[in-house]
């Protein structure tokens, strides 16, 4: 009984139920959902938002919000791409990831400094840096769609396996970038679960003053957090262009909305202090299925933004409602105990 109540209080089961219902609906309407190639396609389009969502979730758990990660990812990957093209580099792709991650680290560090050390409001700061980075990309580097160096192109062709759909004759390849996602997820899981740093992120989000008094280095943790988001964004940028096999500077801009929606939908509490990786990935999966499959059930693509907006509002509304009702219940039980 107690465990059942605990389950219904969390968001993950609802999101999972929504995913199952939606996939059954699509399966009934189109008969194509549970085909091997559709599932591989979904996994493929899930990689980039899922990579972003890990960092985004950690920031929201800490009580902040970051809208600059698509700009960081775009600028980092674009500069890396141009650098490698100019130097005719044809070696290992790891260098591309390293350079892009390094650039991401620098850009994230600026966010971290402004937010952690100067204690400026996170939304306004990241709106500002986002504009700064996209402006630099289009202004200083006059960015436009460009080729990718051979190492990245080769990396994009590495596939794990191919799924075929015998009835439609379609095939889909599982890209190797999914391994990066899995590695990042494992790393983030250990970081959040087994390190003091991870505990600190939750502590700051719960109550910053309390966390500081308890001895957490709040500035340092925030600095780390925004640097981590930057590094992750840099890596995501390279993963994206290797999968697309050309570097389009505007391909990731605007993704912040869907990623934030997915994270919030996955049960991350918007006021900070709560959130899980499982919920986040489920949220991303639901958003990906929604945007990939609305066409399959006959809803025109014009309406996808309405769905994103509605999902943000309903998702945040539900978590806000849960926060208040738990607070009320706790107050009542305290009263009863007294």
């Amino acid at each position: 009984m107690i465990s059942l109540r605990r389950i219904t209080k969390r968001s993950e089961p609802y999101v999972l139920a929504a995913i199952i219902l939606l996939s059954l609906l699509i399966q009934v309407r189109s008969g194509q959902f549970f085909s091997g190639n559709n599932l591989v396609d979904l996994a493929r389009s899930l990689i980039v938002p899922a990579l972003f969502s890990v960092g985004c979730m950690m920031v929201i758990v800490s009580g902040g919000i970051d809208v600059s990660f698509p700009a960081i990812a775009s600028l980092a990957m674009y500069v890396t791409d141009k650098l490698l093209l100019a130097s005719n580099y044809s070696g290992n792709v790891i260098l591309a990831y390293a350079i892009s991650a390094g650039l991401g680290l620098l850009m994230g560090a600026l966010n971290g400094f402004l937010i952690g050390f100067l204690r400026l409001p996170t939304l306004v700061v990241t709106l500002g840096t986002s504009s700064l980075y996209t402006g630099l990309m289009f202004g200083a580097f006059s960015a436009s769609a460009s080729d990718v160096p051979p190492s990245i192109a080769k990396h994009g062709k590495e596939i794990l396996f191919t799924a075929t759909n015998p009835t439609m004759g379609l095939t889909s390849n599982m890209p190797s970038q999914i391994l990066i996602l899995i590695a990042v997820l494992i790393l983030a899981f250990f970081l959040l679960r087994y390190t003091m740093l991870g505990r600190g992120i939750y502590a700051i989000g719960g109550d910053e003053t309390a966390a500081e008094r308890a001895g957490f280095n709040v500035r340092g943790i925030k600095m780390f957090l925004y640097c981590f988001v930057g590094v992750l964004a840099g890596i995501t940028g390279i993963a994206r262009i290797s999968m697309m096999s050309y570097a389009d500077p505007s391909t990731m801009l605007g993704m912040e909305m869907t990623v934030i929606a997915a994270v919030v939908l996955g049960g991350t509490r918007v006021t900070g202090g709560m959130g899980t990786l499982t919920g986040t990935i489920l949220g991303v999966a639901l958003m990906t299925i929604l945007s990939n499959s609305l066409i399959l059930i006959g809803i025109p693509t014009y309406w996808t933004r309405v769905f994103t907006g509605a999902v943000i509002i309903i998702g945040t509304g539900v978590t806000a409602h849960q926060t208040i009702s738990t607070r009320r219940r706790r107050a009542q039980s305290q009263k009863a105990a007294a």
């Binding site: 919000i65 402004l114 409001p121 306004v124 500002g128 630099l136 014009y302 994103t308 945040t316 509304g317």
Partner: protein, 346 residues
């Protein structure tokens, strides 16, 4: 303790001798002189003033809307979506109902209905955001990120993403009218809005309530204020102002489209912060915001006169200025705090 803080901040928010206003004025004069020296034949000519007066009212009015929500401690990121949606509703109505080749006198009632329709869409959008924030306790940032997506999404959905053109000629004729062949009607509307909102903030009870709630929502609730109603009304005003901006944009472009003015959101937040509105709520005046609007307009008009500067550098400058202003204000408030501590120790 709390009451003195509230009273102090209200007084400071209203004070005419606000040091921030002086700083803004210096900045305004500096930018103006700089541009006049660099581009004497183009900047600060009559034609230039006229074109500037045409450009800033649409985002200036939205910036005032955002500023109001920031004074109450929230933020409205949905202003551009509201503006476009309400303009599209008005445009759809006009295109769908006004008979072809109708005489101007016949068109007037349609125009009045269209304007009223658009303003009520703005009010409803604002009320929706205000309700999400005050009734459902969704943080303003996320609620309005959501409404921005939702309103833009609805606008794209009902137009299939196509611009709505073919408005009756009379609309753009009125919308682009100039008094004395110099003062555009949009500037007059901006002026009326700025003065009206300024009076509301400094002279009415509601204005004081907004500052009080922005300074400390819990204290204002315990003081007997109805926070829910204040929030709701603030976002409705912001929605209303957005739809006014939408009508101006529609007149200027002679059409309505779902994704007009996308960079205005950031620009409006920048104006509010530059104008001395504290993102945490409780501080700021419309005078400061107006000066920030002028500074930005001088900068962007001036930059336009340099052919070798790409438009994208404007993004860099907006972002950079926003962050620098934030840092500067922070350092200043730290210095004031230290000074206050020293004074209290003596």
């Amino acid at each position: 303790m709390t009451t003195t803080k509230t009273a102090d901040s209200v007084r400071r928010g209203r004070s005419a001798r606000d040091p921030n206003l002086l700083r803004l004025l210096v900045m305004l004069v500096f930018v103006f002189v700089l541009m006049t020296v660099l581009r004497p034949n183009q900047f600060a000519t009559m034609a230039d003033f006229n074109s500037m007066m045409r450009q800033f009212p649409e985002y200036g009015i939205m910036a005032i809307g955002i500023s109001l929500t920031m004074i109450t401690g929230g933020i409205d990121l949905g202003v551009v979506g509201t503006a476009n949606l309400s303009a599209i509703v008005a445009a759809k109505f006009l295109i769908g109902t006004v008979p072809r080749g109708a005489a101007p006198a016949q068109v007037v009632p349609y125009l009045i209905i269209a304007v009223l329709l658009s303003l009520s869409v703005g009010l409803v959008c604002g009320a929706f955001a205000g309700m999400l924030i005050s009734r459902f306790n969704i943080p303003a940032i996320l609620a309005t990120l959501g409404t921005q997506q939702l309103f833009t999404g609805i606008a794209i959905g009902i137009t299939s993403g196509r611009p709505q053109s073919g408005l009756p000629l009379l609309y753009s004729r009125i919308g682009n009218m100039e008094f004395f062949r110099f003062v555009p009607i949009s500037f007059v509307i901006f002026f009326v809005v700025a003065v009206g909102v300024g009076i509301m903030l400094s002279r009415t009870r509601f204005g004081t309530y907004m500052y009080m709630m922005g300074t400390n929502p819990r204290a204002s609730r315990y003081a007997g204020l109805n926070n829910t109603s204040i929030t709701l009304r603030t976002y409705m005003i912001s929605g209303l102002l957005s739809s006014v901006a939408g009508l101006i944009m529609m007149a200027r472009a002679n059409s309505a489209k779902a994704d007009y003015g996308a960079p205005y959101t950031l620009q409006c937040v920048l104006i509010a912060v530059l104008g001395g509105i504290n993102p945490n709520g409780g501080f700021g005046t419309i005078g400061g915001v107006t000066m920030a609007i002028l500074i930005l307009q001088f900068l962007s008009s001036g930059l336009n006169m340099f052919n070798n500067i790409s438009n994208f550098y404007r993004d860099v400058i907006w972002g950079g200025v926003l962050i620098l202003v934030l840092v500067f204000n922070k350092l200043l408030s730290w210095r004031e705090e230290r000074r206050a501590v020293r004074k209290s120790m003596n």
